[in-house]
Structures are given as C-alpha cells and as structure tokens.
C-alpha cells in the first residue's frame, strides 16, 4: 500500500504546486501537469542523492515525499483551499467533462474507461518482460533499490565488450521510480506507464476540448486507441514518458506564446521548462528540446518581447542535461551519451554520402507508409498548410506555433535518421530507431488535425 500512497502524495503535491502557479487551467490539465512535476521532482531529488554517493533508502523517499508535499502546501495551499471553496475542482469539473447526452459519446467513454482499467490491470499484474525494459531500466531500478551506487552500476558491464556504458546510456527517471516503488514494498513499478498514458490522453482531450468543443472526445478516442501508443502503456520503455513530458511542455509553450494578453505568464513558462527538463530526464538522446528552445529564442527576437521567458524556460532543461551528462561521462562513455556532441556532426559531415541521405528519406517514407492513415492525415495537413498559409486561413496562433514546432521536429527527426543511418547502416536498426523516436508524430498530428479542422466547422456554406 505504501507505493500507492507514495504515488498519490507526489501527484497531489505536484497538483497543488501547479495550481499555485497556473490556477486558471482546467482540472484535467492541472492533474496531468501535477503528476508530471511530482514524478520529475521526486526522481530527480533521488538522482542528486545518488550523485553524492549516498544510496537510496526507504527513509529518504518518505522524507523527500513529505518535504515536497509541505513545500507545495506552503506555496499553493491557500490557492488550493480557495479552489475547493469555489467548488471549481474535482467532481464538479469531472461531472462537467464526462456528462454527455449523445449515445456515441457514452459508448466512447465506456470503452475508454474499460481500456484504462484493463491496461492498469495488465501493467500491474504482469512482471516486466520486454528486453530493454528488463535488462536496463528495471535492472537499474532493482539494483538501486538494493543500495547500489553509480560506481556499482558502472562496474556491471566491465566484461561486456558489446555494450559499453550500457547502464548510463539513458537517464534514470524510470529506473529511479522503479527503485522507489521496490523500496516502498511494491512489486509493480510498471503502473507508471498506464497512469502516464491515461493522463496524456486526458491532457490531449482537454487541449482539444478548449478549441474543438464536443468532438474532442472523438479525437481522443482515436489517439488513445492508436496501437503504437497503446502498446507503450503496458511496457516499461521510456518513450511514452518522453512523449508525455515533451507534449505537455510544447502545448503549454505554444499557448503562452499564442496568448496576446499582457498578463505575465512567467510561471507557466517556468512549468513548461520543467516539463521540457522532464523530457530530457526520461530520454536524453532525442534532441527535440533544442527545437523548443530555438523556437522560443526566435520568437523573442522577432517579437522583441518576453525576454524574461527565455531564462525561465531553459533553466531546468539545461540543468538536467548538464547534471546527467556529467554523471554519464563520469561513469561511462558511449555513443548515446555523446549523441549531441559536436564530434557526431563532424563525423556525419566527414562520412556524408548522398546515398545515406536518400536512405534516410526512404526510411522515413517507409515508416510513414507503415502508418498509412497517419501519413494521409499528415499529407493533408501539410497540403492545407501549404496552400492556405498565404491566404491566412489558419487564424489560430496556437495552431500556427504548434505546427511550426512540429514541422521543425520533423526536420530534426530526418536529421537524426540521417545520423543514425551513417552510424549504424543497418536498415532494421534505423527503422526501429525511427519507429520509437517518431512516436511524437501521433499526438501532434492528431492535435493539429483536430484543431485545424474542427468537424463542426467543416461544413462549407453555400457550396451548392
């Protein structure tokens, strides 16, 4: 039971903290962001302890959990009580969200709820079994829960010539969470993944709901029933966690930049930055965080305003990246850790051949082809944007900003594929890599289609 209370407390603390900074958001959004913040802070604190060569322990987890909760209450307790008094939270909001008259919505709600319950049962009941999940993420968690330190992890692969630096190839968010659950007497740290999946779905719903009305539930249903995404909810890989953090961060960033009111949104920007840091803390290989940072920089220079946003946004991403990279380089040295090193670009330039570029294009096309409908949707969105950009049919600034970040992400994905194709030169490996890295395409493309083409606005008047 300890581990359930632990998850509840860190989510609750995160919720109060979020509420104190961005109280105007919907309950669902606050819940999702709160959960993300809670997991981030509680695992990152443990990481700092481990960096100081101190082992994880039951007492430390309890201490940090309560410290996080108390600090959150100090900062946001008053706001939380006000919210409850105004009856704007919890059941009232939930009732508003989940009440619907139409049968199709009720069916979608029932099937979605059943799916959520089912994936939680599967994730909790079955042990961790998938290759990397078991050999890397969970093993690190198990060993850290037994009092191992980073030095001990570094020694594990000393006789393994095939996987140098394996145990430091990815950051420790999920592993530390696993360790915490084990230390608290739990046996199923895999519960993290369905919870993240559910909250990502709810956040996705809320984002569209604000802009596309009742059809939001329909698009959410499409999103959560996407096999590639759903599969991530029952395996202990970091891809889903990464998408969760990155998607939340990007949506909040786009909303802040699209909001033309003069009200300061520094707090929201700070939270968006923490979430971006969370994405790096779950997977440091993908460089998509650079897109957000560069976009923000470009936006500030172009609009000549919001200079204070920049340091608020980049503080946590850079902190996480710096601390993790230092730790990883201290204990191991591998391609993954150095993936953003300037050397890799030099290597790419030195080994560049036109065939590699064609191969990268071909692999991306094959990936999209395997997701044919997604590809069709993307093509449609792309064509619409191409033809209608000049005519300014897309009036939503949020849509414009999100679409731009998404297109920049696609460019980075292409460049990443190019680098990987030079590094590995094995089509299967490259394809596997892109099919995992490219998962972010799903939430963003669905979101853009949903907001760019709300079904209730599709009817063309006076056509015939």
């Amino acid at each position: 039971m300890n581990w359930i209370i632990f998850i509840f407390l860190i989510s609750f603390a995160g919720l109060i903290l979020t509420l104190s900074i961005i109280p105007e958001r919907s309950f669902i959004e606050i819940l999702s962001i709160g959960f993300a913040l809670g997991i981030f802070f509680i695992t990152f604190t443990s990481f700092i302890l481990l960096s100081l060569d101190r082992p994880l322990s039951f007492n430390f987890i309890v201490l940090t959990t309560y410290a996080f909760l108390i600090l959150s209450l100090i900062f946001g307790g008053k706001n939380f009580i006000n919210k409850i008094e105004n009856k704007r939270l919890f059941i009232y909001r939930l009732k508003e969200y989940f009440s619907s008259e139409k049968l199709i919505y009720k069916l979608i709600l029932i099937s979605t709820t059943l799916l959520f319950v089912f994936i939680i049962i599967i994730a909790v009941y079955w042990p961790i079994t998938d290759w990397d999940a078991l050999a890397l993420y969970d093993l690190r968690g198990r060993l850290l829960s037994q009092g191992y330190l980073f030095n001990d992890l570094a020694k594990l692969d000393r006789f393994d010539p095939n996987n140098p630096g394996y145990y430091f190839s990815y950051p420790l968010l999920t592993s530390i969470f696993h360790a915490q659950i084990y230390l608290l007497g739990g046996r199923s740290p895999q519960v993290l993944y369905p919870l993240t999946f559910i909250l990502l779905g709810l956040f996705f719903y809320s984002t569209i709901k604000k802009r596309s009305g009742n059809y939001a539930i329909f698009y959410t249903y499409l999103f959560i029933f996407t096999p590639n995404i759903l599969r991530q909810a029952i395996i202990s890989y970091t891809n889903l966690i990464y998408i969760f953090y990155y998607f939340l961060s990007t949506v909040i960033l786009s909303e802040i930049l699209a909001n033309k009111s003069n009200r300061s949104q520094l707090g929201a920007m700070f939270i968006s930055g923490i979430l971006l840091g969370g994405s790096i803390w779950s997977r440091s290989v993908e460089p998509f965080y650079l897109v957000n940072i560069l976009f923000l920089l470009f936006w500030i220079i172009k609009n000549k305003q919001g200079y204070i946003y920049f340091p608020a946004y980049i503080f946590f991403p850079l902190l996480v990246r710096y601390l993790w990279k230092n730790t990883a380089l201290k204990y191991a040295n591998s391609f993954f850790i150095n993936s953003l090193n300037i050397n890799i670009f030099a290597k790419v330039l030195a080994n560049f051949k036109i065939e590699y570029m064609l191969e990268a294009i071909k692999i991306i096309l094959l990936f999209l082809q395997d997701n044919i409908i997604l590809f069709a949707l993307l093509s449609t969105v792309g064509l619409i944007s191409l033809l209608q950009y000049k005519s300014k049919v897309i009036k939503s600034d949020f849509l414009r900003i999100t679409a731009t970040i998404f297109m920049m992400d696609m460019v980075v994905l292409f460049l990443g594929t190019l680098i990987v194709s030079i590094e590995f030169q094995e089509r299967k490996e490259i394809f596997d890599s892109i099919s995992r890295t490219g998962l972010f395409i799903y939430p963003f493309s669905y979101l853009l289609v949903a907001i760019g083409n709300p079904l209730e606005k599709m009817i063309v008047k006076n056509k015939h």
Binding site: F118, T129, D157, N162
Partner: protein
C-alpha cells in the same frame, strides 16, 4: 504562383486524375495478386505515397473550384463506381473463406494477398462518396414474409410493427442525414473525415486480437506466481536461467557464447545479467583481452543442432572446444559424470545444460 497551379491542373485535370488513380490501382492489384511487397520491397516504391499523391490534382482542383460541379461524370469516378462493389465483394468473400479455414489460407491456396485489397476498396469508396448522393427510401410497410410457406405461424402485432417501422426509418434517416452531411463537407474535410474513419477502423481491428489475447492470458494466469508468469513470457529460456541460477553460487564466473546466430539471448550479457546477477559473465572476447580464464567456474552448454547446416554455429553448439570438467548437468535431464567435454559428442545434441569446470 500557387494560384496558377489549379489553372494548369484544370487544363489537364481529368487526364492526370484518371492516370494517377489507375497507377494506384495497378500498384494495389500487383500487391494483391502477384505478391505482397512486389513494389514496396523490390522496387522501393512507396505505393501508399503514390496513392496519396494521386489525390493531389484532385485536391488542388477542388480547393479552388466548386468541387461537386467539377467532378460529375469524371472517368475516374465511373471507374471507382464500377470497381468498388466488385473489389468489396471479393474482399468479403476472401475474408469469409479465410475466417472459415485458417490464417493465411487464402494466400496459400489462391496466392492472393487479399488483405491488400482493402486499399483498393477504401480508395474506391472515397471516390464513390465524392460522386454519389445516396438517398435511401423511407419504408412505409414492413416487407411481407410468407410465414405459411415456412410452416411457422407467426403474426406481428400492429403495435410492434409500427415500432419496428419507426426504428427502421430512424436508422434510414440517420444514414441519409449522414450522407447529406458528407456532401456538405469540403473536399479537404471529406478527406480528413475518411482518413479518421479508416484510422478508427484500422486501430480497432489491429487492437482487438492483441487485447483479447492479453485479456485471456491475464485471466488464465490469475493467482500464478512470478516464476510462472515469467515462464509464460520468456518460455523455456526462463526455466533454463532458473536452472543455471539454482546450480551456481553468487560468486561464480560463467562463460557464455557471443551474440551470434542462435545465441541471441544466451549471448547477450545484459539479458543474462538480469537473471543471473551478481554472477560474473564472460565470453571469448574477454578471454582474448586477457581475462584470467582460470577463474571461470562454469560454462553454459548449448548442444549442437544436427539439423543445422554443416559447419554452421548452431551445428557446432557451445562451447566449441574440448574442456576438462568437474561435471555436466543437463537441463531437465539430470547429470552426466565425465571429466572431459568434447563438442562433437552426441550426448548433448539438442540439449542445454551447465558445465561445471571447478567447484
């Protein structure tokens, strides 16, 4: 510049439109009737890309002109209207045959990869929706069924008849309204709508089987132990790992094969380590790089596979060298008392085990 494109396409519109549609059809038919992957794998032509691209002229044309006026009586639409029922019927028939026999029955019997036919059907339906204005008639009277001929005495009470009629007509009205709604959509909206519709069908069809099997497996394994669940997921490999774990001490040094050919799991230190930690794992490369081989206490034994080609790694098994041993334990088959291990011995053929080099 962009405005000039539709003008250009208007001129050649019908020709380009028909051509692209036909090219898509040819690719789909090839993938269906010759063999799957003929275009995609051999020639590296992304057929779905071409299919989607075939809609571009249609899109550009309709984005700037009155869509419904410009498309009537188009040759491509007629092709689609004719082919849709044919391909759809084929798809249903083959689907029925497959489901009544076994998986991949249609392909193995008729050499038709009928699953790919769905793309022709979907493309055709898309064109059909764009041209047809379906208007189903309202039913005023329930169809007469000659029950006497069937020798069943059954009469509909009037109240039920009216109720059934109302339900039927409500359903028909909904379909009519749906089609009217579709006709009010712009071209791009229609495209997105169809994509979303297909996406939801595709998602559900792809999820039903894995989710059902997950559910059945979970149901079967209620109350089972951790080892039983791991055994289900990892198969015999998990039992083999338990066997190794139970027969070695924590300070053992275990010699295992490299990650090649058949030894993908037994050769992967990261996988072995999960099951055998804190035992030390070493392979040939470690020994080559001056690992003191005299400290090795055990070796995994993977017997030769006699069905494998002569000279191949599985044919030789692991370890592929003669060793002085203390004992050999065979997985699920007791011990063999011997002081020497020879790789070509028939004793180990098709078996797995543990070689104890020193205690």
């Amino acid at each position: 510049m962009l405005n000039l494109i539709p003008v250009y396409f208007n001129k050649y519109y019908k020709r380009v439109y028909v051509l692209t549609l036909l090219i898509s059809y040819i690719f789909y038919l090839g993938e269906t009737f010759i063999h799957p992957g003929i275009f995609r794998l051999n020639e590296n032509i992304p057929i779905f890309l071409i299919s989607v691209l075939s809609l571009i002229p249609h899109f550009i044309n309709t984005a700037h002109t009155n869509y419904f006026k410009s498309n009537n009586n188009n040759v491509a639409n007629i092709i689609a209207a004719v082919t849709t029922p044919i391909f759809f019927s084929f798809y249903l028939i083959f689907g029925y045959i497959e489901s009544s026999n076994y998986s991949n029955y249609v392909f193995s019997t008729y050499h038709v990869y009928y699953q790919n036919m769905i793309f022709i059907v979907l493309t055709s339906i898309f064109y059909l929706i764009s041209i047809s204005r379906v208007k189903l008639p309202v039913i005023k009277k329930l169809p007469h069924i000659n029950y006497e001929k069937l020798r069943i005495k059954f009469t509909f009470p009037k109240a039920i008849s009216i109720r059934v009629l109302k339900i039927l007509n409500k359903g028909i009205n909904s379909i009519n309204l749906f089609f009217i709604y579709l006709h009010k959509l712009s071209f791009r909206s229609l495209l997105i709508f169809i994509c979303i519709l297909f996406l939801s069908f595709e998602n559900i069809s792809n999820l039903i089987s894995p989710l059902t099997s997950e559910f059945v497996n979970t149901w079967k394994y209620v109350g089972k132990s951790y080892d039983e669940k791991m055994g289900f997921k990892w198969g015999a490999f998990y039992s083999y790992m338990l066997f190794i774990k139970n027969n070695t001490t924590e300070d053992s040094v275990i010699y295992h094969p490299a990650v090649v050919g058949p030894f993908l799991w037994e050769g992967s230190q990261v996988v072995l380590r999960y099951f055998l930690y804190p035992r030390i794992l070493v392979n040939d490369e470690d020994i080559k790089s001056d690992y003191p081989s005299e400290t090795i206490t055990h070796a995994l034994l993977i017997g030769p596979n006699e069905l494998a080609p002569e000279g191949s790694i599985p044919r030789r098994g692991f370890p592929d060298l003669t060793l002085n041993v203390s004992a050999i334990k065979i997985f699920n088959a007791g011990s063999i008392k011997t002081n020497i291990y020879t790789p070509d011995s028939n004793l180990y053929s098709g078996k797995k085990g543990l070689i104890i080099l020193r205690k």
